[in-house]
Amino acid sequence: MKLNKCFKHAFNMVLHSKLRSWLTITGIVIGVAAVIAIVSIGDGMQQTLNAQLNALGGDIVTISPGFERGGGMFFMRGGGGGGGGSSAPQATTKAIVLGRSDLQALKGLPDIALIDTNIRGSVNISYLGKTGKVSVTGVDQKVWSQITTIAIKDGRMLDSADQNVIVIEGGLASSYFSQPIGINKMVTINGGSFRVVGILDDSGTAVYMPIQMAYQVIPDKTVDIYDTLVVKIKDQNQLDEVITKIQNKLMTARHVTQNKMDFSVTSRKEMQQARAATMSSMSNFLLAIAAVSLIVGSIGIANTMFTSVLEKTKEIGIMKAIGARNPDILLIFLFNAGFIGLVGGIIGIILGTMLSGFMPALMGGGLPMTRGGTIVTLNSIIMALSVSVIVGILAGLIPAYQASKLKPVDALRYE
């Protein structure tokens, strides 16, 4: 029998056992929809991450004292707690710090455009009689505005002539205190008065001030000892090479070898890549769960096909009596199973795409890393469709083979 005729008979078989076929198709629909929706979250996360990676600047490198071997070391903006002492590794006995000599060494590298020196600490802040505790970062005001990736929302960045002024993050300005903090308002930080000259466009609560003022405000800090050096490199395509150069330069300056390196050089790119890896393993885990429902769906197809072979035993006998060859019967049943998979796949993709649109709302809008929304890519559609058809055919393989091997005389006798 010609292939198109086999397909026609397979299609008719689906049409004539509507309820059972649709129930089986539903199993595949659920599996495929789950896979599509979950993959779309993963792809959405990926796109958001890529966007963030670009926005953050792939040209920023952070150098910190201390080194953690075998683990990631993250230095989040505004997240610093107790200053330099707390970020030093536990194993060392002598305080490991970054100082003026390190700064001088880096200034000798032609690949570096700018270097910002930072210290960080926790301070008491009071405004209109209310107090709180926030993180403050002392920055080199001459370069900070060119290195930071946060935009200014109101007022201005720090200037080289500034003293006793601060720039604060949006969250501190708008909602930390009962009264919002506006431009030119005075706040008290560890007893000193500071004027707010700029508000940043984000939701954090950190405070930025000239580093010379920060030495006076943050306790236990020594002048010319830095918590981090933030470097902007000239060519971000050279990032990995420049990181190596920085490491080599500092190892020479600090008289340490690779094995005893007492500082870390991290780029935001690396931080993002570490986050991406976490995201990827999370979405793989979710995908595995979704795949289980697809497997259950495929068992449904196998079950339906076995029932169908049993139900159609007599018809198989008739067909064989009037000239059907074994491959004809095999193909009719395989196409039937594949067709169930295909229809299930198509409906599953439509449902999954709709579901993925609702997904952020369903999860209370709090789905991490999907500010870019969920994305259903052509790749995942092609993948889902081919998987569902292949799953259908695989599930139909044994029943179809059994059907094709039925002896006509036995099949005809079957009631």
Binding site: M1, H16, K320, A321, I322, G323, A324, N326, P408, L412
Partner: protein
């Protein structure tokens, strides 16, 4: 002398029931001539169904040889046998055995599809035969919308679709009332007379045997008698 279309040589069919071997046919040897109208008769359990399955190439013998148009059927692969059967033998069953989900027209088309006729030829052929059996106005009816007699006529049309030399009818009137049964027998007779088909009819009804030219009488898996009825002749 008519040419032999089918020959059974010392054919045995033995079924195993656990440890016990039950012979259904015991050394049958018979020749069926081309263009003959043969009735195979016998009581229940005489082995006539087994013989029909073997003659119809739906089963192969435990021992002995069956030649269909000089071809030893036990040497053919399952698929080759299916194609050979499809081209050479048309089946008419007691319970019609039509595919319920298909229309009369589609049922008649089916053997032609298995034999890979092109669509146009197959459709023309199906229409032609359905007209021949008097169902030109009911081609697109499903079996459930047709009477028993009409269903049997669809079944006859299907058996004729590929223009086979042999029509094998298993109790063709068994499910029909006497009037309709007679119509069906007349139709078989016309096929024999006018189209020169070889008709092999399996039945337990001795009254039907009188339509046949040759009668093979089976008892306990053996041929009791082969008789020719010279009153039944082609006009």
């Amino acid at each position: 002398m008519m040419e032999t279309i089918m020959e059974l040589q010392d054919v045995w069919k033995i079924y195993r029931m656990g440890e016990v071997e039950v012979p259904a046919l015991k050394g049958i040897s018979v020749e069926i001539k081309k263009g003959d109208f043969v009735a195979i008769i016998g009581a229940s359990g005489s082995g006539k169904s087994t013989m029909m399955n073997l003659i119809g190439c739906l089963d192969i013998p435990s021992r002995g040889r069956i030649y269909l148009k000089s071809q030893d059927i036990s040497t053919l692969s399952e698929s080759d046998l299916a194609s050979f059967r499809g081209k050479t033998i048309g089946f008419i069953f007691q319970q019609y055995n039509l595919i319920q989900s298909m229309s009369a027209f589609e049922n008649v088309m089916l053997p032609l599809e298995f034999l890979e006729y092109n669509d146009k030829d197959a459709a023309n052929r199906a229409r032609e035969i359905l007209t021949l059996v008097g169902l030109s106005d009911k081609m697109h009816y499903r079996p459930t919308q047709l009477s028993g007699g009409q269903q049997q006529r669809v079944s006859i049309a299907r058996s004729l679709a590929s223009n086979p030399e042999i029509i094998l009818a298993d109790e063709p009137t068994g499910a029909l009332d006497s009037v309709t049964g007679r119509e069906v027998l007349d139709m078989l007779h016309r096929l024999w007379e006018e189209q020169g088909k070889t008709i092999i009819m399996v039945t337990h009804d001795l009254n039907l045997a009188k339509y046949a030219h040759t009668t093979i009488e089976l008892k306990d898996g053996q041929i009791m008698r082969i008789s020719e009825n010279n009153e039944v002749n082609k006009k």
